[in-house]
């Protein structure tokens, strides 16, 4: 097991290098730099050049690239041009918001998705199955930014139950935190439930047709017990795979949801950095997201062995 983890971690290094190289290439291919954010449209080229010099953007590309890799290898992601703090600090300040949002949405999506998918499979072909799959398809089809705005109009503007946006730290006010996270988490959950419900239904239908399920039923066990104790664990492998994919997708979805609900998370940080060409933050932020993706995949692979004893890692 541990040799597997070690090998996977080592094999992540070239992936991260490629990600950072591509990020570097892409952001330097796109015209524009932070000077355009500091200055308005009437700034003279001389003013822009002065500011670029002040910001250290007048160095050749390869010089900037080498010094960036040098810093990263020594554990320093550099200094944000606009935020007046280190990139690592900027990311770490916002990471809990994004991770907690994604985690809440993931847990809810998994619980509700598995529950709905199992119900649909058990009632295969019935009205319950059709209804659940219709709702799942609807959830998959609704754009998260639109759903977020509708929820704001209903629950914040019309009913006044929840805040329309903003963030309250859990350390300041746990209740305020729960309220500020409710609508964003709900938005993310709704759009992800469909994936898991559909995969659960499909996987469960396969398992429910197998002999051991029929045998369990024939032994006189309750059908509910058979489904939950025997069928579901055997249907978990594809569900786990989809959950891994969704975990990564939630980070992407969080980018949009954070914009709609003005949550100061990593997604909003990276979007802002892209729009203002805060290169160190873009590089550091994307590198961090790549690390999270790789870790999630590694955890999913490890869970395969936990769930299915036939899988041997090593």
């Amino acid at each position: 097991m541990w040799s597997f983890v070690l090998r996977r971690l080592i094999s992540s290094i070239p992936v991260l290098f490629l990600v950072s190289l591509m990020t570097f290439g892409l952001i330097w291919l796109v015209p524009g730099d932070p000077a355009s954010v500091f200055l308005d449209a009437s700034a003279t080229p001389e003013q822009v050049a002065n500011l670029r010099r002040e910001l250290g953007l007048d160095q050749p590309l390869w010089t900037q690239m080498l010094s960036w890799y040098e810093r990263v290898l020594s554990g320093d992601l550099g200094q944000s041009i606009l935020l007046n703090r280190s990139v690592a600090a900027a990311i770490l300040e916002r990471l809990p918001i994004t991770l907690s949002l994604a985690a809440i949405a993931l847990v809810l999506a998994v619980i509700l998705g598995i529950l709905l998918g199992s119900l649909a499979a058990v009632n295969h072909g019935g009205w319950g199955d059709q209804s659940i799959m219709t709702v799942a398809l609807l959830g998959l089809s609704i754009p998260d930014f639109w759903l977020g705005l509708v929820l704001i109009v209903v629950f914040a503007v019309q009913l006044g139950w929840l805040p329309s946006g903003g963030f309250v730290a859990i350390t300041e006010d746990p209740g305020g935190w729960a309220m500020s996270m409710a609508l964003p988490a709900f938005t993310l959950t709704i759009t992800q439930i469909g994936f898991i419900a559909r995969m659960t239904r499909s996987s469960m239908l396969d398992v429910l047709r197998q002999d051991f399920v029929r045998t369990a039923d024939a032994k006189g066990l309750g059908h509910g017990f058979v489904v939950m104790r025997h069928a579901l664990p055997n249907a978990m492998m594809p569900i786990l795979t989809v959950t891994g994919v969704i975990a990564g997708g939630l980070l992407g979805g969080a980018v949009v949801v954070e914009q709609v609900f003005a949550l100061p998370g990593v997604g909003r940080l990276i979007i802002g950095a892209i729009l203002s060409r805060d290169f160190p933050v873009i590089q550091g932020g994307l590198l961090m997201l790549a690390v999270i993706y790789l870790l999630v995949n590694l955890i999913v692979d490890m869970l395969y062995a936990v769930i299915d004893p036939r899988v041997r890692l090593g």
């Binding site: 954010v37 500091f38 009437s42 700034a43 003279t44 002040e54 709609v260 100061p264 940080l269």
Partner: protein, 516 residues
């Protein structure tokens, strides 16, 4: 408490898919204090006042920092931190007397050395350091006296000194030795810095030891008597327009810096909100690249100018809040001119075709660069369609602002570019001419514009300056150096609880009260 607990329960319920219903009581009680929350589209790139000319930064910084001279309600320069100024007969020496007893937010008092250090810092790293380019030296000639020596006469020196663009703010001398973005946010303004979450909010609080300028009795532009009744002001940065409006409707936000027309109209029907028409706020300008053919050809530019229907452009790009006016200054300016306005908004395709026939245009496809702001894209699209009617093919190249602004200041890759001119007409004639000096905005030097700019900035007589500006305006029209489509404004909306708010270039929070 009960309501609060239920709200928390609701949040938990939402997360598990359950929904519950609880209302919030509304309590209205008039009293001083309170935290005013302003929603604005963008975050300031910096709270160092010297290094950024972004509107988002001005909104915040001009609450914390002050300048020697500032713009009054009519955008004229008036003393703010200065008591006054004596100008030598040759126009080369300015002796500023400072107000005494002005406190910085760190508890120290402002003296001449702070002013000298601040001006010198701005000359080195200021985002608009050319504003002070005429300065030869700045000297401390007394505890409360600063002498500025100019290398050449500059009639616009006080205009420059009071520019809110990237404010030439006075900061403590020990801060002024710091590099760009390295200072602590300490000014003399009526609000002081509390917290900045760069992608979330800035919070300022009332500076209780603020030194009111008793030379005035009331609020006057960015100067005047800046009495603060509220406790604090929070600027929240909300990109999504629907979320901003929702925040106002839930009572979490008290003022929207800008809102779209349909939302403004909807909110205006509700007496809980007050909608302010801030018009004029800026020009819509269409620039030509004079370094490329055929936009280097005056006949081609005149063809474009004659073809465009400004009413059509402004009505679509800025629905509900625009003015058809060709003057290159706002009408309330003392320098406003109607020179050559018969050449504005011709909207005659036949005249345009005649100019086009005499031009060097040869059927090639021309590039119109435009950022992804809706009004600018609309303007570019209308120009594209209108020019198609006279046989000119234009393709739009839409990108984000950093991309477009970098291309637009190079001689290649574009023929047309449109965006707003906001702070320039507010500042006055020299600021309107300045973008065209040395060919910066059209990528080809125009000696006549350079001459007019030098004449204007060295002419001390106001009437003569007005005549020079009229000459500039006529030159712009007769040569179609660039096209002004019209004036546009913006809608600002506040809750009715925000009293005595008067819109200006920034959403001023002194003089306002919040009914809580």
């Amino acid at each position: 408490m009960k309501t609060r607990i239920l709200q928390i329960a609701l949040a938990g319920g939402m997360m598990t898919g359950g929904l519950m219903a609880v209302g919030l009581p509304a309590v209205v009680q008039a009293q001083d204090g309170g935290d005013v929350v302003i929603a604005q589209l963008q975050a300031p790139p910096s709270l160092d006042p010297h290094v950024t000319s972004a509107q988002a930064a001005r909104n915040v910084n001009l609450h914390m920092y002050e300048t020697l001279y500032a713009r009054d309600e009519n955008a004229a320069p008036v003393p703010d931190l200065a008591q006054g100024v004596e100008i030598s007969e040759d126009g080369l020496t300015y002796v500023f007397t400072l107000r005494e007893g002005v406190n910085f937010h760190d508890g120290s008092q402002m003296h001449a050395d702070d002013v000298v250090a601040s001006l010198n810092r701005y000359r080195e790293i200021g985002a608009s350091s050319t504003l002070l380019s005429a300065i030869e030296s700045v000297e401390e000639t007394g505890e409360y006296e600063v002498t500025v020596n100019l290398s050449e006469v500059q009639s616009t020196f006080l205009d420059n000194l009071s520019s809110p663009r990237a404010p030439i703010a006075v900061i403590p001398a020990e801060q002024a030795v710091m590099g760009a973005n390295e200072i602590e946010f300490i000014g003399t303004g009526p609000f002081r810095f509390v917290e900045f979450q760069p992608d979330s909010f800035v919070r300022l609080e009332r500076f209780d030891d603020y030194s009111l300028n008793t030379n005035y009795s009331e609020r006057d532009g960015l100067a005047g008597y800046k009495e603060v009744f509220i406790d604090s002001v929070t600027f929240r940065f909300i990109t999504e327009s629907g979320s901003r409006v929702a925040g106002l409707e839930t009572g979490e936000i008290h003022l929207l810096e800008t809102v779209d027309g349909p939302s403004a109209q909807r909110l205006a029907e509700n007496d809980q909100y007050v909608v302010y028409d801030v018009l004029p706020f800026a020009f819509q300008v269409i620039k030509f690249n004079h370094a490329q053919s055929p936009t280097d050809d005056v006949e081609f530019r005149l063809a474009v100018s004659a073809a465009l229907d400004m009413e059509e452009i402004m009505a679509i790009s800025h629905p509900d809040i625009y003015e058809i006016d060709g003057g290159w200054l706002f009408t309330n300016s003392a320098f406003y001119s109607d020179a050559a306005l018969d050449l504005y908004n011709i909207a005659d395709l036949e005249v345009a075709r005649q100019h086009l026939e005499n031009s060097s245009y040869d059927g090639e496809t021309l590039t119109f660069i435009v950022d992804n702001g809706r009004a600018n894209v609309d303007t570019a699209t209308i120009v594209q369609q209108r020019l198609a009617a006279i046989g000119v093919t234009v393709e739009l190249s839409v990108a984000d602002w950093p991309t477009v602004s970098q291309i637009g200041f190079t001689p290649d890759g574009w023929h047309f570019w449109t965006h707003g001119f906001g702070i320039e007409p507010f500042e006055g004639p020299a600021s309107v001419i300045a973008p065209w000096v040395d060919g910066v905005s059209m990528q080809a030097d125009d000696p006549e514009i350079n001459r007019l700019y030098n004449a204007l900035t060295t002419e001390m007589d106001a009437d003569a300056r007005a005549a020079i500006f009229a000459e500039f305006q006529a030159y712009m029209y007769e040569n179609a150096v660039a096209i002004k489509a019209g004036n546009y404004g913006l809608f600002q909306v506040s809750t009715a609880a925000l009293e005595n708010f008067v819109p200006f270039r920034i959403p001023r929070m002194w003089g306002v009260r919040l009914n809580q």
